[in-house]
Symmetry: C2
Subunit: 225 residues, 2 copies
């Protein structure tokens, strides 16, 4: 049975390219595992969606009898038994996966949620004052500086490219998209190196095609066609 | 060789009871694995600390040849082969571990960092306006409401008590300490149920004793004794 990846039915422009289904598409492209995409409504959340994912988030993966959410857990599940989660380096890869999602992403989201509130208050709430956002940026930059030092001259976080790199690069792309990665040249190179992978490029192309198709469906519905 | 758990040498009152070494102490008490505690300076960070943990955080575990950071990765490592990470339920436990650390904790820390800034601006930066904090609280409460629904009438997140419960309860205790858990009675019961475990009580007692001993050492140093 083919694995099914759930993402949203439609979203406005700003989150496109950054929805967390991309992490899962990327690992699926790396491993060559076939999959199909299905959707849940973004607004409002549906009972069917909440039955699969109590927090109303995506991605969700249905793999045979298994229904699984949380991108970190999905990356571990799909990486299992592949070179993306090698048994010989399992603990270190897991460490960096959690570093991506519990240390770096937590810090990045604290800042970027504030930044996005200045542009999209309907989604992200009233914008904090500049001095508050600036403090959050400095806290995030301390994490990025430490990450850059830890990466050093290495290509990847563990010996080879793994699910930890997929998670970390996906977090860093958010920072880059808001213009805050440039002062960390080794992290810029790291993101660029990852983005050159054909699996990333296929995943991103499919992800963006999904939103274009959603636009077309939406336009057809709205014009009554 | 005995496992070594690193925490900070001393901290002011407010974070005591919530430093992330507690999660690791708890799982070690649950599994009965012997360990010793060593420290790194909290302020300023030392080169030795940053060599073990690039982000300058705790906990760090040294287990034979393995040096490991990130509480999520440490919980998985220490739970491996025990009833706290059962092979039969591994994927679901991993899912809830990531839900604790990447969904619930991310939302809780976004809010609580703002709340703490109103009391400790030297540590947490300039406090946001009330309306900003209130929005973050509502976003967090949506996650807590979803968690309460997902837990339903069950005692634990998976079939039995696991590392996912340790992580989730440690996150919820932060919410409780700021008076924001009371409107989720099933989550209050969940935290209380976990806190009744002798392993938690031993871990917390040792954790608090560590800070009292640190106070005594500090007082002795400052009075020149």
């Amino acid at each position: 049975m083919t694995l099914t990846l759930y993402t949203f039915d439609w979203l406005p422009e700003f989150p496109r390219g950054f929805v967390r289904d991309l992490r899962v598409r990327w690992v699926l492209e790396e491993t060559g595992q076939p999959y199909t995409v299905d959707t849940v409504p973004a607004y409002p959340k549906s009972p069917g969606h909440l039955a699969l994912q109590p927090f109303g988030q995506v991605p969700i993966v249905v793999d045979g009898d298994l229904t699984l959410f949380e991108s970190g857990a999905i990356l571990m599940h799909l990486g299992e038994g592949t070179a993306l989660l090698p048994a010989s380096d399992r603990t270190k890869v897991t460490q960096w996966l959690f570093a991506a999602l519990n240390t770096v992403e937590m810090s990045v989201m604290h800042w970027v949620t504030m930044v996005l509130a200045t542009r999209f208050p309907d989604f992200f709430g009233p914008p904090p004052e500049d001095v508050v956002i600036e403090h959050a940026r400095r806290e995030m930059e301390a994490k990025l500086e430490a990450l850059q030092m830890a990466l050093g001259g290495e290509a990847w976080l563990a010996d080879k490219f793994t699910i930890a790199d997929i998670a970390m690069v996906e977090v860093l792309r958010v920072v880059e998209s808001e213009g805050a990665l440039a002062r960390f040249p080794q992290l810029v190179s790291y993101v660029d190196r990852a983005r050159e992978r054909q699996a990333f490029q296929r995943a991103m192309a499919d992800h963006m095609q999904h939103w274009r198709a959603a636009d077309s469906r939406k336009a057809a519905t709205e014009t009554g066609r």
